[in-house]
Symmetry: C3
């Protein structure tokens, strides 16, 4: 049994889902670990991780709009000194979550056919986001 760790970076350009499935897949392949479990952690409180539909791009737009309905700007938040999009970003990150655990088999993540891994940017402007990754197995 062995393990490996990594920090991946993802560039975002404002609110939206950025697919990172290929980046993660390639890192697993390089590790040489065939069976195990992968852990991902988004190291931010205004971006998050989700597993979502990878076929229809319209899904991603609907997700961004829906999150903005649930956690709108200018809703009278007590925490507003980092801009009107900051507190909604924290709420959206909490709702979607910042950690994922994914079984790996035959050197590949056990995702379903229509599942992709996405970093979700919740701030208005783009950021350079970091994802900590850990893989254990053999």
């Amino acid at each position: 049994m062995r393990q490996c760790s990594n920090v991946m970076t993802v560039a975002t350009t404002g609110p939206g889902l950025v697919e990172i499935t290929r980046q993660v897949t390639e890192w697993i392949e390089q590790s040489g670990i065939d069976e195990g479990v992968l852990t991902l952690l988004c190291r931010h409180t205004s971006a998050s991780l989700t597993i979502q539909e990878n076929a229809a791009p319209a899904v991603r737009g609907d997700i961004v709009r829906w999150l903005s309905c649930l956690a709108p700007e200018d809703a009278g938040y007590a925490h507003d000194d980092e801009g009107p999009d900051d507190m909604p970003a924290h709420l959206k990150a909490m709702l979607t979550g910042v950690t994922l655990s994914i079984p790996v088999n035959d050197g590949r993540m056990m995702l379903g056919t229509w599942q992709g891994i996405y970093l979700v940017e919740h701030r208005r402007r783009g950021h350079r986001r970091e994802i900590a990754a850990h893989l254990i197995g053999e």
Copy 2:
């Protein structure tokens, strides 16, 4: 230290929570692993996994109704070509999540007394759902 992997199937009959605690418990017992960590992944984007109250059945109905209030059908989604229940199903799956990580001790999941593991079906009609499972420990 060793590990084992599995894919479990769960039949659903439309919106609702299907308890899978026993199915998971039996697989852990068969593995012979006494202490470790269990990872579960629902391999779909319109069904999800949650840990919820296992005593009062009324809780499950309330959950289904609440999710439908948060992500209603016919809300003007851009992605509507797979039926009016498809985009709401993606949103509900994102909110509840598709991965779970559970410590195992003395051959049993460390769930609290009132916790059960549920697959949540978000589509109108029933499906055959797959859950990838991984257990590592000794």
Copy 3:
């Protein structure tokens, strides 16, 4: 490769976020495990775990208020025999989640600078909450 397990207890005093980052950090340090993956499970259905902003205390109040808007009391729940705050607590716990997986490196969790780990109490009165912890690595 080795592993260790623990159950931590956290006292709450009603709705709110209680930071447990230090408690978890100290346990990891005591374990002597330098690289690995940490799993946390909140063993309750009316409290949950989240990774959130650790700098501005106002964020925590906004979170509690936002959750109460999404899952209000007296919304006509079928399950109301354990008090008006019980069913909303289950919904809030489902939304925020009860499990976390966090990569560990150099003996420390790979959290971002502004991330802390919080137990979120969703019931009106305080409770003694249990968190199962598992760490595997070397």
